[in-house]
Symmetry: C2
Subunit: 236 residues, 2 copies
Amino acid sequence: MKIAILGTGGGARAHIAKLAELGHEVHVGTRNPKATLARTEPDMVGTPPFGPWLAEHPGVELHSFGHAAARGELIVSGIDGHNAVSALSAIAGQLAGKTLIDYAVPYLYNPDIEHPWPTPWGVMPTLDPCDSDSLAEQIQRALPDTKVVKAFVTQEQTTVVNPGAIGGGDHTMFIAGEHADAKQQALDLLKAYGWSDVLDLGPLVAARGMEMYAHMHSAIGFALGFGTHFGIKVVR
Amino acid sequence: MKIAILGTGGGARAHIAKLAELGHEVHVGTRNPKATLARTEPDMVGTPPFGPWLAEHPGVELHSFGHAAARGELIVSGIDGHNAVSALSAIAGQLAGKTLIDYAVPYLYNPDIEHPWPTPWGVMPTLDPCDSDSLAEQIQRALPDTKVVKAFVTQEQTTVVNPGAIGGGDHTMFIAGEHADAKQQALDLLKAYGWSDVLDLGPLVAARGMEMYAHMHSAIGFALGFGTHFGIKVVR
């Protein structure tokens, strides 16, 4: 299958590598491919530059967001919450009629915080939108001809593509969205990743809770020790 | 031990009954004991009136918030988020030097919503505070001489007092607070309730995530079917 991954950070790379390994044709989208390939230093969160990483993954192609989206039959977006709606609206035509899985946490961009992710009990990041809206709902409203699914957001992406690494895979993945066929596509992808317990939380309004869980996820991560990966199991 | 339970709703009753069963001396606090005992109809969320319930639990005493707090060595508050800070501030003297476990979700009081709890995909409740503050932090700031612990808030209270009812008890309870000795008291109480997996999320700022998890909790509950009780296990 032709799958477009929008984003080149650590989370996107986990999906790119796994999807290529599964035999999919992966098209990676970035805002400015030349600028992405020109970078030689790690980014603000320590992710190594994309060019050398791409060179180690033959067959994966880098494009602009629009060109990648045009080539993908299924779209996976990790574009950060601060930029996602504008970046995706600009390529609405290339996304029309397709399923888009959004996994971003909409951290509020705050120029006073050097590091956009939570640091152990320093300045806490906040979310925008939060509580009465969600990034996934915003994207769906901006792209009425695209079928938006919120998924993956409650885990590290390295764990999303390899659930068996934690507790033998006995933990729970959540999905939400307005379109049953799109959720089925997300479910099929998750099964290919190795997930056995996927809980459909219903319509996209459930994305509010999935995104707001970011605070709890960070707190659990700090409690277990920085860098510890973990999962959440819904025990019935 | 003398334990004060502030609140008379369904969650409070779960704690009252269990603590009495465990042999504690339970003092229940309510805003206006006469008014509480005078009610003969179920409340807005269908909880039967407190008087008949109290009559079936001999030895449990009903007081004003202040009188209950004065008698308790340990305080458990389920006072709703809309009223908690003002009600607790009014009895700061009776709470000074003691541990207070707060388990309320700070749902925003909205007169347009007849039912203050989430209904399956109708009008969604929102939280106040949310994201950049938490009810537990507000209570701690209002009561600097009290040791506030956030706990119990990620579960139904009937499950908090009986964790073994779900998955043989193999799920996770979370606590947070600034005071190690107060968290130890909460931990001891949870062990008496039957908990084996209690994760200390650190300082009280973690209460933000614990309270914001309310949306996710509701969504999971709707997905599993109204009335289904469940737990969350952190899978390492």
